[in-house]
């Protein structure tokens, strides 16, 4: 492999590039989906290729190909430099990168049991068993269960001397029961909506009790059909942790991406309200809100050894005691705020450029238990599991829906509600956070579908969170029946 990467780097040097890197990526995936007692998808995907990124005449160019051979390396290197020169014709100041110490090494993330070696029949049977249990509940019209596995092996080499090999395995599982009646459709999921994922092997799939939870979620979906509509009100809101993971993702993870802040996603995903003048002084949340970007924690979907610019993994303060103190950055953007890269550049495969992406954006645990939080709430709502999400293009005004919610009355959970939603403005919402559950309630959730960029890229990111409480939140927007 090294002869091919060296060839690419030498070629771009000869062509006059001031910087170049090549990533060779091989990715395999497997997906099994069971729906209503039938295996509707048993598939695998193997994909490999390389991408060459260069700076020539002070501008970026990138070209990629599936054909990993010396001639194609030369062709793609030439195209990358040609593209960079075309970019330079519509370019401002030359690109400058923050320095990075060249790294050489080979790194493999922990995986106890290779999921691709686990028998397919065993995986299918587990999903079929969960499916059958869910369909015992009469109202369940669609029972779905899914497993997903990924294996990614990549080499990064740069004209600055880095040569980094990294391998990782990711696994996920989830079940969903959808109940249907006249004019109504409701669903419940486990362990998380869309499944739960981690950087781990088949042992991760086995740790979740999908069989033991199948009947519960099916019954809850059926109960939701006749549950009252979530009221429209202003209340105390307690979010279960998988829902809070989405809240962190949308209202903190995206607005701290420094490329968004600088407008380079303006035409697609949008920009950010967290402009550089706010760094170090803006009140993002209450005193108890502490958020870090940590790519070093074991098992997170946003965990790695080096990012796709060869910058080492690190833990960075984002929100400290409620104040906004840090961004996710790259080698290009960090110098513009007088910093070095925080190591957040990640690409979705060989045929995409790295972009600033979330790593594991973690809300640090507090000192409450969930029971204490509920007992301490006179009138509120406990909302659970991601339903849907929407937020404006500066990440201020959001409205999220959950699968289910429960009334909190005098410190106890009560009435179940369907179609719960809540809405707010990001800093006001986090400013109203007055309780965060402790480390025993804290876990890292894996999000496998974070979209960004043109052409589109999907990132796997993590969010460590514990259930938390927010005051004076606007809940419910649907008209009551």
């Amino acid at each position: 492999m090294k002869d091919l990467t060296e060839r690419a780097l030498e070629k771009v040097r000869q062509l006059g590039a001031s910087y170049g890197d090549i990533r060779v990526v091989k990715r395999a995936s497997e997906e099994i989906e069971v729906k209503n007692g039938k295996v509707e998808n048993l598939s695998s995907d193997s994909d490999q290729g390389f991408g060459i990124r260069v700076i020539a005449d002070g501008a970026w160019g990138f070209a990629s190909s599936l054909n990993l051979n010396p001639d194609e390396i030369d062709t793609v290197a030439e195209l990358a430099v040609r593209i960079a020169r075309a970019s330079a014709s519509v370019q401002g100041a030359p690109i400058e990168l923050s320095p990075v110490e060249p790294a050489v090494g080979s790194f493999t993330a922990p995986c106890k049991r290779n999921p691709f070696e686990a028998p397919v029949e065993q995986k299918i049977q587990l999903l079929l068993d969960a499916d059958e249990i869910m369909r015992q509940v009469d109202e369940i019209r669609v029972a779905e269960s899914v497993m997903r596995f990924w294996q990614t092996d990549q080499v990064f080499a740069s004209t600055e001397g880095s040569y980094i090999e990294q391998s990782k395995t990711e696994s996920g599982i989830g079940i969903t029961a959808t109940a249907v009646s006249e004019g109504e459709v409701q669903k419940r999921s486990y362990p998380a909506a869309g499944g739960e994922h981690a950087q781990a092997g088949y042992e991760f799939v086995e740790q979740w009790d999908v069989i033991g939870n199948a009947e519960r979620i099916a019954k809850e979906a059926a109960q939701l059909l006749t549950a009252p509509q979530c009221p429209s009100d202003v209340r105390t809101l307690i979010l279960e942790s998988s829902m809070l993971a989405l809240q962190v993702h949308e209202s903190c993870g995206h607005p701290i991406e420094l490329d968004r802040v600088f407008g380079t996603e303006a035409a697609y995903a949008g920009t950010s309200f967290l402009t550089p003048d706010k760094l170090g002084n803006f009140r993002y949340g209450s005193d108890i809100v502490n958020i870090v970007a940590d790519s070093t924690i074991p098992g997170g979907l946003g965990t790695f050894f080096y990012d796709d610019e060869g910058v080492s993994a690190q833990c960075v303060d984002i929100i400290k005691d409620g104040t906004f103190v840090g961004y996710l950055t790259s080698r290009e953007t960090a110098p513009q705020i007088g910093q070095s890269s925080s190591g957040a550049m990640r690409a979705d495969g060989w045929n995409r450029i790295p972009l600033i992406r979330m790593t594991n954006i973690n809300l640090q645990p507090g000192d409450w238990t969930l029971d204490e939080m509920i007992r301490d709430t006179e009138k509120g709502l406990f909302a659970e599991m991601v339903g849907s999400w929407s937020i404006d293009d500066k990440r201020l005004n959001f409205q999220f829906a959950t699968e289910v919610a429960y009334d909190i009355e005098d410190g106890s959970l009560g009435q179940m509600y369907k179609n719960p939603t809540y809405t707010g403005i990001t800093p006001e919402f986090w400013g109203s956070c007055d309780a965060i559950a402790d480390k025993d309630h804290w876990r890292v959730w894996g999000v496998d579908n974070c979209g960004k960029g043109q052409p589109g890229q999907t990132a796997h990111v993590g969010h460590g969170v514990a259930p938390s409480r927010f005051r004076n939140v606007r809940i419910g927007v649907m008209e009551e029946e």
Partner: protein
């Protein structure tokens, strides 16, 4: 390019290596390039050459699928073997009837050499021109200009053979003045089908007009929804309910409503993958010829679209709407048309006593699928209309509204349409649109 013969030769070889009862092999191969700009410079500029070969093997009623981008004989043979093994290891799917049989597809002129050969320098020149227009009005431009070509082929063991080359070009422009935003979007099979400068002028003009927005109270307003916003309505309808699987599973708004009026009588929506006004394709992901399907006629739910799996469940033929061999979401209407009206957007504005003009939506998502109740933000040009005139730009607002309910209250439909990736949509004037919040810009 491989050409018809070269591409089908790969598929024939793959079929010959399969021991399954039925086998389908599909291959897409091509190159795509995208030049992205922001802050009035090109900041990302990329190109990729890729392929995707998918083998679907059927043993009895057990199915396995394997996808690879490795096209050498050994890799393709391994993919076929893996798919057959998967099928043997899988469990029966009693609803599966058969892969589709051969049927002649109509010729569609979907390939354009100029688009396929558009160079990095061509794209940079076009982008430079658009940025020049932004600078002319003191705006900052962001967006992308992309070109791509593909060859797609499908073959199966029942004798189906299909091949089609195609090209695609796209453009997005968001222009920003100090406090204003404007937008334009183009998609076509041929780069010559749109004029980047005309799109730049559209975005730049709106970005100037939308400066210094003011907030209004959320509530119910009459709205003029520009075609970009209406296209999003159609896409949600396609996603949530125009597919047969959604109907069969009871999660479609068409469930139990076929033959009934579900929106206003002035609403007509159909899917036609052969109409050159859209993004025509000769056949779907299973190689089945695409055909026109009426979805809503005069407000009445007429019928969903089918792939071979959902059609087999009902003992009917596929309508050619399979969008992916792999996956479980089912067939989709992906070339929709909404019948235009006979008025202009200007006439809609003139007809509005007090209302809001929405250029487009942002980050829209579903709250209730059966009601097609969705929420999202307005973006890139929202204006207050009073007494038949646009009187001021507005800060962006959140809406939470039912698409079905809004399409039941449409007073006017424009003659102008805009082509998007999934549909061709007009502008509409509708009563009682529900704005539920406001943001700070």
């Amino acid at each position: 390019m491989l050409g018809r013969e070269g591409l089908l030769q790969i598929l024939e070889k793959a079929l010959s290596w399969s021991s399954a009862d039925q086998t389908q092999v599909s291959l897409g191969i091509g190159q795509s390039s995208l030049t992205r700009f922001a802050n009035n410079v090109i900041h990302q500029n990329v190109s990729q050459k890729n392929a995707s070969l998918t083998v679907k093997a059927v043993v009895g009623k057990k199915i396995g699928c394997v996808t690879t981008n490795l096209l050498d004989d050994a890799s393709v043979k391994a993919a076929v073997g893996h798919a057959v093994q998967f099928a043997h290891n899988s469990a029966e799917n009693a609803d599966f009837v058969s892969l589709p049989g051969p049927a002649p597809a109509k010729d569609v002129d979907a390939y354009d050499a100029q688009t396929a050969e558009y160079s990095p320098e061509d794209r940079a020149r076009d982008v430079g021109g658009m940025i020049g227009e932004a600078k002319r009005v003191d705006a900052v431009a962001a967006g992308q200009l992309s070109t791509a070509f593909d060859e797609t082929g499908v073959a199966n063991s029942l004798g189906l053979r299909a091949y089609e080359p195609s090209s695609k070009a796209g453009l997005t422009a968001v222009m920003t003045t100090d406090t204003g935003y404007g937008y334009a979007d183009r998609v076509a099979g041929r780069i010559s089908d749109f004029n980047p400068m005309e799109a730049a002028v559209e975005a730049a003009t709106t970005s100037v007009k939308s400066r210094n927005p003011e907030a209004i109270e959320p509530g119910e307003y009459d709205v003029v929804l520009m075609p970009y916003a209406v296209a999003e309505f159609l896409e949600f309808m396609a996603w949530l309910g125009f597919g047969a699987l959604a109907v069969q599973e009871g999660r479609s708004f068409m469930c139990g409503k076929l033959g009934e009026k579900i929106v206003g009588q002035n609403i007509n929506i159909w899917d036609d993958g052969l109409d050159p006004a859209g993004m025509p394709r000769a056949f779907d992901a299973e190689g089945v010829p695409t055909q026109r399907v009426d979805l809503i006629n005069n407000g009445v739910a007429v019928g969903p679209v089918y792939d071979s799996y959902t059609a087999g469940k009902e003992g009917r033929e596929s309508t050619g709407h399979c969008v992916s061999v792999v996956g479980t979401y089912g067939p989709m209407a992906a070339n929709m048309f909404m019948r235009p009206g006979d008025c202009s957007v200007q006439e809609m504005i003139a007809d509005t006593k007090r209302g809001v003009l929405v250029t487009r939506f942002h980050y829209t998502n579903v709250i209730h699928p059966l009601q097609v109740l969705i929420t999202g933000m307005t973006r890139d040009g929202t204006f207050l209309i009073e007494n038949g005139e646009i009187v001021k730009p507005l800060m962006n607002m959140r809406f939470t509204d039912s698409v079905l309910e809004r399409l039941s209250n449409v007073d006017m439909i424009s003659k102008e349409t805009v082509r998007q990736s999934w549909c061709v949509a007009p502008a509409i004037k509708a009563r009682g649109f529900k704005f539920t919040g406001v943001t700070e810009f």
